[in-house]
Amino acid sequence: MTRKFNETFALIRTYFQETFTAMFGGGEADLLLEDPDDLLETGINIYARPPGKKRQSLSLLSGGEKSLTAIALLFAILHVRPVPFCVLDEVEASLDEANVDRFANYLRTFSSQTQFIVITHRKGTMIASDILYGVTMEESGVSRLVSVKLEDYAYDEAEGVLQTG
């Protein structure tokens, strides 16, 4: 149990350092055991340092920086313990455009090993997708599916409703 825990921890830690710099375009991150002598009970501390900033406690990160750090940790876990499919519901909602693009690029490369089903409002994520479906309620209260091509998708600019082809 503890040997396995230690191995898994070490692997996730290595990948986390990699996924963090990929998500933030720099900076550094780390995972440290609070009490390495007690592998059965020890807690885990997360350190995250966005590029150009001093290392500070996780709580001082901004809303977007926190979500991006969480996404980086998720990808690190998926590297170590792959699953065949993954459903993400608006995980990138608090990211700015530059961070959405980095997230979408990473999703693209990751999708060769894991299938992703992504619920999103963000253009950067839509552009990275292989297929796009729209869910609407033309008849109020009843959901229907429409197939959408990105160029038809004038959702966020125009009247704010799904424009389908």
Partner: protein, 165 residues
């Protein structure tokens, strides 16, 4: 293994039958607020055996059955099927395509089907757990839940590593 198709009828806002063919790479689901996007994720979670109504945002499991709208009466059966591609024999089964089905009647009765044959919930859950798709896999991140991956206390974080070990 990857998800091929989801067939939903009578589940939450899907009064009319809805089928989604997933791409092996990235499938994005978009649409206005309240149109039914997260309900699609709930449908996947439910057919995979989710027992907690709260995790599906309801008070009781009956809340997943279409409750009616301005133009339609409520229905009495919710049914979701998930078709999986098993060409790579990832799932412990000889079938190259596996279909999981869950049905709930307003009377409270549940039915489960594996490749269209009646089975118990346990049969579906065992099949998933044997294939590494148990509840603790990081395969579904709900809306607003991404920051929880960082969880606030060091001692809570260790479950991530235990699950993945």
């Amino acid at each position: 293994m990857h998800l091929k198709r989801l067939e939903v009828t009578g589940f939450k806002s899907f009064a009319a039958p809805l089928d989604i063919d997933f791409n092996e790479g990235i499938t994005s689901i978009v649409g206005p607020n309240g149109s039914g996007k997260s309900n699609v994720a709930d449908g996947i979670r439910w057919v995979l055996g989710e027992q907690s109504a709260k995790q599906l945002r309801g008070a009781k499991m009956e809340d997943v059955i279409f409750a009616g709208s301005d133009s339609r009466k409520r229905v009495n059966i919710a049914e979701v099927s998930l078709i999986l591609d098993n060409e790579d024999e990832y799932m412990m089964s000889d079938f190259s395509e596996i279909s999981l089905t869950r049905r709930l009647y307003r009377t409270g009765e549940s039915e489960y089907f594996l490749n269209r044959k009646p089975c118990r919930r346990k049969d579906i859950v065992d099949l998933l757990v044997d294939s590494g798709l148990g509840k603790d896999a990081y395969s579904m991140i709900g809306q607003g839940e991404v920051d929880q991956i960082l969880s606030s206390k060091p001692e809570d974080r260790r479950t991530i590593f235990e699950d993945a070990a």
